[in-house]
């Protein structure tokens, strides 16, 4: 495997030589390798769960130019796993927080901050100045966008994704190797695969997978070892099992096949069948706001509150509603009184919107979705109800 970077190797000063001594004394890296690392330009998409360890280790290892793309601010719920951010950074831009930590570890880095959401409009322009892209994003539209932009610009993609206790890692879009679309030609329909925000993730898992990504990035820079090209590494943290599956370049792949049909970036939200980020769901007809619910409960109205979250979420916080998890609802509609007004809620309003659809199809006439869920209740009505 030839080294990926062709830029002129950078020279190291004496401080850098001391700093990187544990690299320099290994023949697989050596002075030549460390100079390649310094000359390398790596773009990390996302400074979150995967991006934290990824950027940390790449920065410590001396990757000369480290680009970070993120539009988000640090939130309390990030701190359980996004180790590049600290408690004092809550509310700050992730880019600023991450750049501070990286500079503190290694002042020799050239850190480039891109305060933007990666999009079909900016991806090609952003990617063209980099040697390697490391995809640490968190949703299907961006995964396909990163893949297609990597294929179109000819940049390898050090990839990882995580869910609960499981992770997947590979290197996509090298010249001879398969791309993400060779593995998964189509995304799942929205709602079928929960995000980390909905399904949870073990805090350590992005650490495991992000470090694997960083390892692959360094191997690509050095041209050493066997990168995860044409292989999908599956990590099961509960069983602590690492398995490997063969990936093949699909000759009919629409992105990297011989008769490719994707010759420019497309609308990835449309491709994935969604309108945007899975955040608070937009208000629809028949929805009820938390303020109205509070007013009517205070007035003594006998509303039936249906909580469609999971039992372990109910334990964290609840509004005293009747619990039927969304997945069980179709089988359990018999427990509900069709003559009463039912207010369905979940955490943010997404699952309860589906619950309202299920109940309406089952013949319930008077069902409303609580906009923003228990989170909105906590924010606007009763801060004693914890947010999670």
């Amino acid at each position: 495997m030839a080294a990926i970077t062709e830029a002129k190797p950078a020279t190291l000063n004496n401080d850098e030589i001391l700093r990187y001594s544990r690299h320099l004394i290994m023949p697989e890296v050596g002075m030549e390798g460390q100079q390649k690392i310094k000359a390398a330009k790596v773009l990390c998409i996302g400074a979150g769960g995967l991006g934290s360890p990824l950027a940390f280790y790449l920065g410590a290892a001396g990757v000369g130019t480290l680009g970070l793309v993120d539009f988000d601010v640090v939130d309390y719920t990030n701190l359980q796993r996004q180790i590049i951010h600290s408690t004092a950074d809550v509310g700050r831009k992730k880019l600023d927080s991450a750049a501070d930590k990286l500079t503190a570890i290694n002042p020799f880095l050239n850190i480039k901050k891109y305060d933007t959401r990666l999009s079909s409009e900016n991806a090609l322009e952003l990617f063209k100045d980099y040697d390697i892209i490391a995809d640490g994003t968190d949703n299907f539209p961006t995964r396909y966008l990163v893949n297609d932009a990597c294929v179109l610009t000819g940049k390898p993609n050090a990839y990882a994704s995580i869910f609960r206790f499981e992770g997947q890692a590979s290197v996509f879009a090298t010249e001879e190797g398969p791309c993400y679309r060779c593995l998964y030609p189509e995304p799942p329909p929205p709602g079928l695969v929960p995000s980390c925000a909905e399904g949870g993730v073990l805090g350590i898992l992005p650490g495991l997978l992000g470090v694997i990504q960083a390892t692959e990035v360094l191997k690509l820079i050095l041209g050493q070892g066997d990168p995860l090209i044409g292989r999908l590494l599956l990590v099961d943290a509960l069983g602590m099992k690492f398995r490997e599956l063969k990936l093949r370049k699909n000759p009919d792949c629409p992105a990297c096949g011989k008769n490719r049909t994707i010759t420019k970036l497309i609308d990835y939200n449309e491709f994935c069948g969604i309108r945007g980020e899975e955040k608070a769901v937009e208000t629809g007809a028949g929805d009820i706001q938390v303020e109205e619910l509070k007013r009517r409960l205070d007035a003594g109205e006998k509303l039936f509150i249906l909580d469609v979250r999971e039992p372990h979420e109910y334990q964290i916080a609840n509004l005293g509603g009747y619990l039927i998890p969304l997945g069980d609802l179709p089988k359990r509609t018999g427990e509900l009184d069709p003559n009463r007004e039912i207010i369905a809620h979940c955490k943010m309003g997404g699952r309860s919107a589906k619950a309202v659809d299920i109940l309406k199809q089952a013949g319930f006439k008077n069902v409303r979705n609580l906009t923003g869920g228990i989170t909105a209740w906590s924010e606007k009505i009763d801060p004693k109800v914890p947010k999670y």
Partner: protein, 91 residues
């Protein structure tokens, strides 16, 4: 009997089992026996027209069945099948 490895997101439909033993001569048999044992899995693996969903990959040992004989791929007694759905988390 061959075993099918179940990924975490789908274990809620297999009574939390991480692996399910199936009676199978081919991949098609293995999946139909799996769905017979755990009917709730059906809509996650198959679309309404009965086709295996495009974002669900099935492997026999470490080979993607799309590059073997697809559904008709022969499954031996000691083979391990894996269902590997796409996941996207990262933040």
């Amino acid at each position: 009997m061959p075993k099918i490895q179940i990924p975490t997101p789908l274990r809620q439909y297999t009574g939390k089992q991480g692996a399910v033993e199936v009676k199978a001569g081919t991949v098609a048999d293995a999946l139909s026996d799996l769905v017979a044992q755990h009917p709730d899995l059906r809509r996650h693996l198959y679309s309404d027209d009965g086709k295996l969903r495009a974002f669900v990959n099935v492997y026999v040992n470490d080979e993607d069945v799309r590059y073997l004989q697809k559904d008709a791929t022969v499954v031996g007694e000691d083979d391990s099948l894996s269902i590997v759905p796409s996941i996207a988390g990262g933040r």
